[in-house]
């Protein structure tokens, strides 16, 4: 499930902006067309197993409990990619990849958010286990990427700092 779009390239291989695509999507967004489009794919895929309790759980321990995670193993085959310092805590871009075979479920938990579970995906068989999304962070926290494969839980973590800024340099 590769949600994010990739670059366009000119013949020299230097990536350039595609103004046309941007304008088209802005237009679509302005007209409300996006809501009917395929961008809701992940949500639809997930809708069948919506577990409201997991998203409403307070604190990391409770969120893990609601997800049914007794224990997990930190794995080098799971990666969390994000900036070290957030440019805007309200929308922090995060990518998660899993190279573990038979990955069936992926989730992001923001340890210090009041409701840590931020997003979760069921991964249908044969799908590339990778996604990019934006999460909201109230303060500096570890981002925990949780992966379920072959019935076992794996994880990777990265600290993202939410700062007041303005220190110049």
């Amino acid at each position: 499930m590769q949600v994010y779009t990739m670059f366009d390239s000119d013949e020299k291989g230097v990536q350039v902006m595609d103004q046309g695509r941007r304008n088209a999507l802005r237009m679509a967004s302005a007209l409300g067309l996006v809501c009917a489009g395929s961008l809701l794919g992940p949500m639809r895929a997930f809708a069948g197993e919506w577990k409201a309790n997991s998203f409403e759980a307070k604190g990391l321990a409770n969120a893990l409990k609601e997800l049914g995670v007794d224990s997990y193993t930190m794995s080098g085959e799971v990666s969390v990619i994000s900036a070290e310092i957030a440019e805007n805590g309200a929308v922090v871009p995060v990518s998660v990849n899993s190279a573990i075979p038979n990955t069936e479920y992926m989730a992001i938990l923001i340890e210090k958010n009041p409701n840590p579970l931020s997003v979760a995906f069921n991964i249908p068989e044969g799908t590339e286990a990778a996604f990019t999304t934006r999460v909201k962070m109230g303060e500096t926290s570890n981002i925990l990427a949780l992966v379920k494969a072959n019935g076992k839980w794996f994880a990777a973590s990265k600290e993202v700092k939410v700062t007041l800024g303005g220190c110049g340099g």
Partner: protein
Amino acid sequence: MSISRRQFIQLIGAAAASGMLLNAKGVLAAPSMDKLYDIPRFGNVHLLHFTDCHAQLRPIYFREPNVNLGVGQAIGRPPHLVGEKLLHHMDIKPGSSEAYAFSYLNFEQASNAFGKVGGFSHLATLVKHMKDSRPNALLLDGGDTWQGSATALWTNGQDMVDACLQLGVDVMTAHWEMTLGDKRVKEIVEKDFKNRVDFIAQNIKTTDFGDQVFAPYVIKEMNGVPVAIIGQAFPYTPIANPRHFVPDWTFGIQEENLQAMVDEARAKGAKVVVLLSHNGMDVDIKLASRVRGMDAILGGHTHDGMPVPVIVDNAGGKTLVTNAGSNSKFLGVLDFDVRAGAVQGFKYRLLPVFSNYLPADPEMEQLIGKLRAPFENRLNEKLAVTQGTLYRRGNFNGTFDQLIVNALMEVKGAEIAFSPGFRWGTSLLPNTEILMENLMDQTATTYSHSTLTEMTGSMIKTVMEDVADNLFNPDPYYQQGGDMVRVGGMTYAIDPNAAMGSRVQDMRLNGVPIEATKKYKVAGWAPVAEGASGEPVWDVVATWLRSKKSVPPLPLNTPRIIGMDTNPGMAL
């Protein structure tokens, strides 16, 4: 790449031998420029590098820091060495012109003996001199070039754009340039720089789709060798400076993308790959340990004039990491010997630009004169005389910031004042005039509004902890490369090794502990919020200076520094 021990000894020997020395009577026997800058060509790939000139077109004085603490793995590692510890580590003779250029030691006496440093006319002469012996050498500008002076501010960066074109800059990356706004940056890149200067940044992308805003790298053929220069803009530009100047662009270190760009450049045939970086030196050292395939990182941002590169091991080999100081005080000269498709050896020198010993380039001098002419009257207004040395650089404070916070408190009627931990700003010798130009050298930004706000004690603590973590987080990827916020009125203690939230301690106002819920009147300047307003800080300080006429040496409000007694990055 590998560097033999013999090569390394030659390298540091060269740094110590080429300069001038004061004799026992403090009299200088100066060699001619040719002898001082007689640096024979080595190899066949030549990169000339300056960075963080902060729009200083004219020669200036610049005092290097006596506090530049390293924490975590950076303790005692370059650039976190000051004074005698630095000279000893770099094998530089005390009393030499190099000791003057690279350290704060005997600043006043050495300034009188060796004179001013930098200035684009003198830098231009040195660039030409180096290019004479190094055919097809590239001139790289690490950024922070279009900001830092009155004329850069008043011409919207145009004076520096014209001067850089005249200087012959080939490739550039950026940081403070962005505070002119995204439209102005694009205008310069697309018009003035078109087909003349490659403006590159692998780590600036659009916030919506992550598309590249500028070319990530450029490959240039030099003496038969394809050389790739990859650009790395300051990763935390929208955080350390106002977001609203670049609302649609995202930055960050972007290590994974950098690796992809290195691999792509190599796949296209580049035999030398160099990162032109505005990360800051600690970030560059960590980056060099994690990304494969870079021969060198030519770095800036942290204003560290480091005469010798740090050589970093990584999975792909070794990477040189340099940092070339600030204020057009230095020119880095990196020579690579490239044979059989690979780098076989290198020589690196960071040459101080001694204005008295490098004759001004007539064409550049003429251009600077023309650029400054409309502003000379305003620049030369005499505000006051300083009795002590004025400087900014240092982790916690400098005398010029002390002057600014004192002025802010007095003029604004505040109990406490903050001045941002900027690292730019020139120095003034005792008993000299403070001209409007000198004040602008400390304050000229596009958002220098002064502010007066009520803050609770806990808010003050939060702000100071936040800034302290940007300086002292043990992981350099979480640092932003500025210095600690300068504080007037309030005293405090700081434990740089403590965790975030516990570093700032014992905050007091007139000896009385700061209360968490009590409100205090706090003056400051350079707010990052959009729509901020307030009298420009240079007007506030100029008013104060005019009323004082003469400013005595200012006692520094240095915090009590905990746990750093043996740190070689501090000499108090």
